[in-house]
Amino acid sequence: MSLTQQLREQIDACRPGGEDLHLPELAELAQAVEQDRAVAAALDRARHFDLALANALHDQPVPSDLLERLLAQTRNAEAPAADVPTVELPPPAASSFRKTSGNTSRRRMLVLSSAAAVAAALAGLGLFLPRAARDVPRDELVAAVQEWMNEVPAVEGWQALPAQAAPAGYPRPSSAILRAVPHRWRYHETPYGQAVVFDYTPSGRQRVLLFVVRSPDRFLGIPPVNHWSKTLSGNRALGAWQKGRLLYVLTVVEDNQRLDDYLLDVPVT
């Protein structure tokens, strides 16, 4: 099969999963797809490749301490905000490979670099000091949990239960609260502290994970008795409660199952 360069470029311009083929500028390709099975097959292969490549590009481990450092940078940069010089954000449409705009651009870069250096130094200093407990809003926790769900690998780092016992400092909730039995566990770093993840996923079902986080932080609006729950995008849900320095978060992908299938309410006396 031999595609013209123009058709090849148009195939490559189609975004995976998009409706780009309906764009007027790709009308030639759309017509070719209808009339030529070879072109249609090439487009199909290109879309498969795009999806696989997009997944691979996003499959990159993130440093475990990055979030903590970024949050420290945010906190530290907040305090002297009045002293931070205004740095104009170039419009996103800025040309990628134009020549540098000269001294002004370099000066801005210098100012930005200095500010970044100060912030980084403050953040670095903060890392060596005992971390003070902080109040964590529910929305922040929800956003964090969604990251955790994406970060926990399917295979790596898991220890089988009951052969490999989980650390004693991370007790699992009783069956009166969580109606299931985990079959493996692993460590997971969170910005609030070390966590142990228990995998409760039943055979043939979507993921059910329990994060037990040991943290000095206070999670606002997370009850000590029973749980607070929230439905997330992607058919996912979480239920959270805290007990002393332990935060419990159960996450469930609600395909053919629900959070309520696992978490039970305890009568409050």
């Binding site: 595609l3 292969r45 691979a56 800025a94 490979f97 607070w228």
Partner: protein, 222 residues
């Protein structure tokens, strides 16, 4: 009784999103939590290096903090952060070196097309293949995959002609196909060394940053 607050798929989960705008450090913290991983991955693919990606991510959030008031459309927070990071990356590029895209020679006719479905790629080969691309090709292809911009939008963002974007996108993707598709699944294959040679000959590649698990690539082969 457990209380349950529902939100539809894709609905707002952060204070910024719920408020419909951003105004403070608390909002930025929520953005950091929600988007730091995605931004780091984008930075890593742009730089090809963990240390530079780390710096770039921090720099992007620093700029974002200063410009948070510009964020008006809550649902665009991720796209806005991507654009901020890209802007920081381009600034660092301009500072480091000029790149002459006209000298890049990725022969379209020689780029093989996959004839079989590919489910996953080797991580090191992917990193190496990306790093072999000249900066301007890599940027376009990453804007396509990470920012999910159309070639029209990429052209507008970079202020370059649409034809140039289509050409770079196609050549870059062709190169990645050539490097990542198993030989048995490739149609009109051309010796890989020839293709890589074409990339190397015409580019001013940047950076000397290597991670232990990252093979030496064209980036250091000046």
């Amino acid at each position: 009784m457990a209380q349950r607050s529902a939100s539809s798929p894709g609905a707002a989960d952060t204070p910024v999103q719920q408020a419909g705008g951003a105004s403070g450090a608390g909002d930025l913290a929520a953005l950091v939590v929600a988007h730091h991983a995605a931004l780091y991955r984008y930075a890593f693919r742009l730089c090809g290096c963990a240390a530079e990606a780390d710096d770039l991510t921090q720099q992007a959030f620093l700029v974002a903090q200063q410009k948070l008031h510009q964020l008006r459309e809550a649902e665009r927070a991720g796209a806005w952060l991507y654009a901020v990071l890209r802007s920081c990356f381009l600034k660092s590029l301009r500072k480091q070196r000029p790149v002459n895209a006209a000298t890049v020679n990725l022969e379209m006719e020689e780029v093989a097309e996959p004839t079989a479905a590919v489910e996953e790629f080797d991580r090191e080969r992917l990193a190496a293949a990306l790093n072999e691309l000249p900066d301007e090709f890599r940027l376009v292809v990453l804007m396509f995959y990470f920012e999910e911009l159309s070639y029209h939008e990429i052209a507008a963002q970079l202020e370059i002609p649409i034809g140039t974007v289509m050409s770079r996108l196609s050549r870059a993707k062709g190169h990645l196909r050539q490097r990542l598709t198993p030989p048995a699944a490739v149609g009109s294959a051309v010796p890989r060394s020839a293709l890589i040679g074409n990339v190397l000959n015409g580019t001013a590649l940047n950076g000397n940053c290597h991670t232990p698990d990252q093979p030496t690539t064209a980036r250091s082969a000046k």
